[in-house]
Subunit: 536 residues, 2 copies
């Protein structure tokens, strides 16, 4: 069963080995363990609903609380510390676009506000419930998960927008297809959520970002239905799909998504290479991506992340062997950076691409160490978030912040993000273990994905929120001042909304506000997300 106050299925736990705990103790100090609130205690705080008696609306505290929070750090500590939070006043479970239409119309008539709910995996506060006087209805799309149509001739699959990764892939795989979209949240996040937050998956190098996979569909807005027909490409005016992508529930609700799928690849494998230092590793990946080799993944860890990953992996024998081998091949152990590389193609193309990538990497001092670590990565590709549970149980908090920036600023921004966090914690007399990888590479630049592990603060919810706020602001300011986007793959939500004007500019923000007013003249849709203030 899904954990109510942590990541994932409660039948699955990850353990931290002794070396990992020793590393954390050395780097940030002994963990500060806290006691979790019980689900009963938080449910007891849910107030009575003004929607009581409304036909078809679930007003149970359990249903309402379950859609009130996502997986951001603030949401996480609200659950762990059992803080009372505003929750939607009712939840509905539409099964069709017509039912979504019905609830939007009803909300408009009644003056309710509406928050669409997909998989609840937002890490940017997309589910924050306003505390105002208007009733809030949660549109839970968890019953819209079906593969409605598969057009094999055009390789287009029409899916219920609430389909989470495994449900979606299982239905496609039965026909020999894959969407190829694998964000780390894959187990719970939904295709509709991916589209409206502009998500990107681990193998986007082959399959593209969600923008490239989203071909059309059905979008229900307060003022009517936007039907997006499918074309392979078009020059017929502005592309209206782009108003759905990134709309984050402000303009309407995506109910059916037509997605570009692919035949399952004949061959897929993941491979590890090590580089002596960041400079050479970055030069290699930049060249790899610009050579347009048909790879499916490039994922470059900086030296601290490489060390962290090896420590977490915990196979002392493997690591000893690896370090001996790297030393023998001329790759010094200290600053080594690991590159994980994926190929997904027909056997011949995959072999050629891998060979070309190895050849090119060698010119930058890269040492290929084979598939063993790649296999391990693949087996654990969605398990990273489970470690957050384990860390919390050991008294540590974990958070991630990501961006994307043009190549000349990748290294400076990566360093600035880690340093900004260290500085923010230092003011508190604390330390943070910060490490980073590049997960989505482009000719122009790269995403930067940093993880921050630090001790839980004593004193409960408020000091922990304060600690997070300070460091999050510092890192976000570093991103903005280096010309990075406030999010490469997690969207804006509430948490990133203050930083959006820096990249959209005044006219851009006014345009987004105008689109809100256009699609949602009564201002009922997902208030406060994307745009900080209700644009009216």
């Amino acid at each position: 069963m899904r954990r109510w106050n942590g990541w994932g299925d409660d039948a699955l736990g990850m353990t931290l080995n002794d070396n990992a705990i020793a590393m954390l103790t050395e780097r940030v100090g002994a963990g500060h363990k806290v006691e979790d609130a019980s689900l009963e205690s938080v449910l007891a705080q849910v107030p009575p609903s003004p929607l009581a008696g409304q036909h078809g609306v679930d007003i149970s505290p359990r249903a309402r609380y379950s859609v009130a929070l996502g997986e951001s750090y603030p949401d996480w500590i609200k659950k762990r510390f059992g803080v009372a939070v505003p929750v939607p006043d009712g939840v509905v479970y539409p099964e069709t676009s017509a039912e979504v239409r019905h609830w939007l119309d009803r909300a408009g008539e009644q003056g309710w506000q509406v928050i669409p709910y997909g998989g609840g995996t937002s890490v940017a506060g997309h589910l924050d419930c306003p505390a105002g006087s208007r009733p809030v209805l949660s549109l839970n799309l968890s019953r819209m998960t079906r593969l409605l149509h598969l057009d094999q001739g055009s390789q287009l699959a029409t899916l219920g927008a609430g389909a989470p990764g495994p449900v979606l892939e299982a239905q496609l795989r039965a026909h020999g297809y894959t969407l190829g979209h694998f964000p780390q949240s894959f187990e719970y996040s939904t295709v509709g959520g991916w589209v409206v937050t502009r998500s990107s998956g681990q193998q986007s190098l082959r399959y593209g970002r969600i923008e490239q996979l989203f071909a059309g569909g059905r979008f229900e807005t307060p003022i009517g239905t936007l039907e997006l027909p499918t074309f392979p490409a078009s020059s017929a005016g502005p592309d209206l799909r782009e108003l759905v992508l990134g709309s984050e529930g402000r303009f309407g609700v995506l109910t059916e998504a037509v997605m570009r799928v692919s035949r399952l690849p004949e061959h897929e494998s993941f491979h590890a290479l090590f580089f002596p230092d960041w400079e050479r590793a970055e030069a290699a990946v930049r060249e790899l991506v610009r050579a347009k080799l048909p790879l499916s993944m490039l994922r470059l860890s900086n030296a601290i992340e490489t060390l962290t990953n090896l420590t977490l992996a915990g196979h002392a024998d493997l690591i000893r062997w690896l370090e001996r081998y790297l030393g023998w091949r001329g790759c010094p152990v200290g600053d080594k950076c690991m590159l994980m590389l994926g190929v997904s193609a027909d056997r011949r193309s995959a072999a050629q691409a891998l060979a070309s990538a190895r050849r090119l990497s060698r010119q930058h001092g890269g040492v290929y160490i084979g598939r063993r670590m790649g296999d391990k990565w693949r087996d654990n590709r969605f398990k990273g978030p489970y470690l957050r549970n384990t860390l919390w149980e050991h008294g540590y908090a974990a958070d991630t912040i990501e961006t994307a920036v043009d190549w000349p600023r990748v290294k400076p921004l990566m360093q600035a993000m880690e340093q900004a966090a260290r500085d923010a914690f230092a003011e508190d007399g604390e330390r943070v273990h910060a490490f980073t990888h590049l997960s989505h590479l482009y000719s122009q630049g790269s995403s930067i994905y940093s993880t921050f592990v630090y001790r839980i603060a004593p004193g409960g919810f408020a000091p922990n929120l304060e600690r997070w706020r300070r460091y999050k602001a510092r890192v976000s300011e570093a991103i903005v001042s280096h010309g990075g986007t406030i999010s490469h793959q997690h969207g804006v939500g509430s948490d990133h909304a203050p930083y959006l004007p820096a990249e959209k500019g005044p006219l851009g923000m006014a345009t987004l506000a105008e689109l809100c007013r256009h699609f949602d003249p009564q201002g009922i849709m997902n208030p406060g997300k994307l745009l900080q203030d209700p644009p009216r």
Copy 2:
């Protein structure tokens, strides 16, 4: 010097060989030659300008007429028959974004309407000048052609939006880079025009459509400046670049375009293959594009286009040899379809991709005939439009219509487009020589590009316009009824505006109208383009 009433430089002419003329005579009848109007006669019809005396505004008839028409068939016959047309009342030649800003502000204050002008190559009526009472100012961007900045670290080039293909490529090539965007109009069309009409180039398979190449820039709108910063990718809300792409002068003027450029490829070559029939050829190209082989171009001609191209090429010896060779290799001569295939990469990748493509084509009966025809294609890649001049001199009109549609409808729509034209001409007692190729291939579907050659009608401008209107409407209706987009690469303009609601839907059209009102509250920008009626 550029021809005033036909395509291209008047120092360059194409000839039609006897076989080609015989083919046309057999297929549509003897050409009906007409006498062209003189430039003097059309300039004499230009009325006095209400902008006389405005500082910095060129009101000469020559300047005004030269920006009044593009290269669509209606525009072509207006020039050839010397018809009086509404022309802008003045032309300005801004050299900077600030000067564009100045003219937009001035137009707003004075109640003038504004038509931006790039290379004048529109084939969809993007330059149509309204005949109303408000003065019309043409913003001619031909002095904004410089490479303003080249950031080699991120492979981003900032260009004046008025830079035409050769000027742009020459500046990039001096540094070892290419944009890789080669539409057939390359010699005259501009980077700004490519962006605002969502253009696609011949090698989009490698370099992407203009949407993928456009990273950001500066967009001057009547209500202010939209600055689009560059990110390799972003999930921070709707992508505002997408409102510039396809805006066709309705929302503002792109003044500086930041484009993603690439190092010049180590190797580039073009190769021809022949398939016994359309079915096998289509199956092969579908598989080629879905295999994601690193090719730079796929261009498949149907049997009539293949025959036409071979006849035009006119090398009787080559064709005899080719047909004998194809027969010996088991590829029957009658229905053969030619595939032109490009590779642009490092030598090794290019060789591997070509070998894979040949192997895969062989499985579908494809016969590889080497580089000779590919070299010929490359040499003439931008010369196709020159033939239109020659055909006209022989008494024939040539026009093209293009779309894109999902794979299951590619062949039916291709046939329907050609048949719709044949039917429309038959009602007139005329015949049309119609042939088609697929030039931009996607996993989901393909563009369809049809050429129509028919006799000039006797009786001057009116019957020729009427003949075109009837056939254009029939073919456009075939496109819409088969679920194709009204344009894959030429945009909407005036000519396609009536068909836009079929794909955007009522809410989509209302949204575009709302965006017009937002960016252009006084309705001064490029009236009648994209949206048929002024949206107010």
